[in-house]
């Protein structure tokens, strides 16, 4: 590993850790300062009993100074004890464990669709004839304005009456069953990002098509397909990757809507449920996880970009 690489990765990881720490503090403070009494939420919606409330405040350390509560929470996060849910009275970790796989699978599925279909559509619309280009353009324009819940409702309408290719609810079991159930949510989640990636890909390929080095290759008599693969796509990869990376990172927050719409038991639907019920312990944890996922994916994208274009490792901060 060269010195430039070590410096690059060190910087990236450093920024990552600092961002996560500050994000965790921000999330903690937000919920600490929220109006309302967590003890009442924990006691459940019945006649509040002072003895019970006092006991709860002791058990959950609600009367400790805020920095102590923060540090205790942080230590717990690092060691794996993520606190106790205010509503379900079991460990947050167990609630998350039960649902993390579904969400991870959904995000990966959607990511695959975004990159696979998006890039293909972009390339096709750039390299094929006018008609294909126009159709894909119209489709992407409409799709970019289609939020997850809109696509979800349309899909539910189509597949709940008449066609029944895919189940419209639930998480399923077993890997294939899960993928079957996650197909419609993945489509709903990925459609607008897919459109965005397709349009960026098309623009990038367009630009590369007419670039100098491609003309050079063409003049040397290289076959069109080889030119596409080796020159155009390779250099177009960077912006495509960046956009894909940002899209994938944005997918995590979109799971809240996709899971809720299709009744999938995942982290997103748990977050929505917890926010409505003011289960701050769960909201804290899932928000932190989503922020972490977002930031980590971005670092990965930067790293992959640097692998493709090592000049980026020399970069010294932002312009």
């Amino acid at each position: 590993m060269t010195l430039a690489w070590a410096g690059f990765l060190g910087r990236k990881v450093g920024v990552l850790v600092v961002t996560l720490l500050i994000a965790s503090l921000a999330i903690f403070l937000c919920l600490y300062l929220a109006p309302g009494d967590p003890a009442t939420v924990i006691a459940g919606g019945t006649k509040p009993n002072p003895a019970v409330l006092a006991h709860i405040r002791l058990e959950y350390h609600l009367d400790d100074p805020w920095w102590q509560q923060y540090l205790r929470w942080l230590k717990g996060v690092v060691t794996g004890d993520m606190g106790t849910s205010f509503v379900y009275h079991t460990s947050v970790a167990s609630l998350l464990r039960a649902r993390a796989f579904s969400t991870a699978l959904l995000v990966m599925y959607a990511g695959a669709i975004i990159v696979g279909v998006g890039v293909a559509a972009g390339v096709m619309s750039s390299l094929r004839g006018r008609f294909a280009r126009t159709i894909i353009n119209v489709a992407t324009t409409i799709a970019m304005g289609a939020p997850t819940f809109v696509v979800a409702v349309v899909l539910i309408t189509i597949f709940s009456t008449g066609l029944s290719w895919f189940p419209i609810y639930g998480s399923g079991s077993g890997l294939l069953g899960r993928l079957d159930h996650l197909t419609l949510p993945a489509i709903a989640l990925s459609l607008s990002f897919l459109a965005y990636v397709a349009s960026i890909t098309r623009a990038a390929v367009d630009e590369e098509k007419s670039a100098e080095h491609v003309d050079t290759a063409r003049s040397r008599g290289l076959r069109e397909r080889l030119i596409t693969r080796r020159h155009v796509l390779r250099n177009a990869a960077a912006p495509i990757l960046t956009v894909s990376g940002i899209s994938v990172a944005g997918l995590f927050s979109g799971t809240a809507v996709a899971e809720q719409a299709f009744g999938v038991q995942g982290l997103g639907s748990l977050l929505v449920d917890a926010a409505a019920k003011k289960d701050l312990a769960v909201v804290q944890m899932i928000s932190l996880l989503m922020v972490a996922a977002f930031v980590i994916v971005n670092v990965l994208v930067d790293t992959i970009n640097a692998v493709l274009d090592p000049r980026l490792t020399m970069e010294r901060g932002r312009a």
Partner: protein, 291 residues
């Protein structure tokens, strides 16, 4: 073109009609549709055929008819009227977000670009941290803190979008600030504020407009999603996001109209905004990479 004449050209605004004439048919249609929707929102009490909240048990789930042009929902409320009134709230939320976001974003960008040094460093770091929070997550956390409703998600989304605007404006502002005419004005003793207001901001306007348009579109999508999740405006309020979610249980009964019509309204509005925004950006030489 010299720097000075570039400035001069940018400050002159073409007439509205002239602008309309340079639009392609598609953009003309998009503008007309958007204008219609805004008018509907503003004139709702005058043009809606029915009160959007009056239920009528007998009309429940009715199809299109003389009195209910688009049919009625599960409670017998007129769908067309609800869609028209829904435009008000569905447009108001994003409008508030943009109205709050622009002054704050411009201020931060100008501060960072003008002062430079530590101010710029601090502001840029804060912006970077805020970038790590997707808007939807911030809005959900805000709801967990303050309860569901109109304001918590709106404020949260404003906080989430300001960094985007600030970062983009900051780089443009930096470029502007380093142009010779600014140094010339400073030498003449013109105050920083005067330079900012009379020279910098007008030249940032095209970028601000484009960003405001982008943000409006995103805010509309995010706020509708939040209402759909039950964390924003609540039923029986007539708002497109709420209508999609309220109508979802009827989809399975064979009545997808409430959800679909409201969903289509969101889609059409955002697509129009995107199209117009893209056209505007092209006109003012703002490429995709700057967004």
């Amino acid at each position: 073109m010299t720097e000075l004449s570039k400035v001069a050209v940018r400050k002159r605004q073409p007439l509205l009609l002239r602008r309309f004439a340079t639009m392609t048919p598609l953009i003309r249609i998009a503008s007309a549709v958007l204008l219609l929707i805004v008018l509907a929102a503003v004139l709702a009490p005058l043009i809606a055929p029915h009160d959007p909240t009056t239920p009528n048990a007998l009309d429940s789930f009715g199809g299109p008819s003389g009195s209910h042009l688009l049919g009625a929902d599960a409670s017998g409320r007129d769908l067309l009227s609800r869609l028209i009134y829904g435009a008000r709230l569905s447009l108001a939320g994003p409008a508030v977000v943009v109205l709050l976001m622009v002054p704050v974003g411009v201020l931060l960008a100008l501060l960072a670009a003008w002062r430079g040094g530590i101010t710029d460093g601090v502001i840029s770091r804060v912006i970077d941290i805020l970038f790590a929070f997707p808007g939807l997550i911030l809005a959900i956390v805000a709801v967990a803190m303050f309860g569901a409703g109109f304001w918590a998600p709106v404020i949260a989304l404003t906080v989430s979008y300001v960094p985007v605007l600030a970062r983009v404006l900051r780089s443009v502002a930096l470029k502007e600030r380093n142009l010779p005419y600014v140094a010339a004005l400073q030498v003449q003793g013109v105050s920083a504020i005067r330079i900012a207001v009379r020279h910098l901001i007008p030249n940032l306007l095209p970028m601000i407009t484009v960003q405001a348009g982008v943000a409006f579109g995103y805010a509309m999508l995010d706020l509708a999603a939040i209402s759909y999740l039950g964390l924003g405006l609540q039923p029986p309020t007539a708002d497109w996001g709420v209508m999609v979610s309220e109508g979802q249980s009827s989809v399975i009964e064979g009545f997808p109209q409430e959800s679909l019509y409201a969903a289509v309204m969101v889609l059409v509005t955002v697509v129009c905004i995107n199209l117009i925004g893209g056209w505007f950006a092209e006109r003012h030489d703002i490429s995709e990479a700057d967004l």
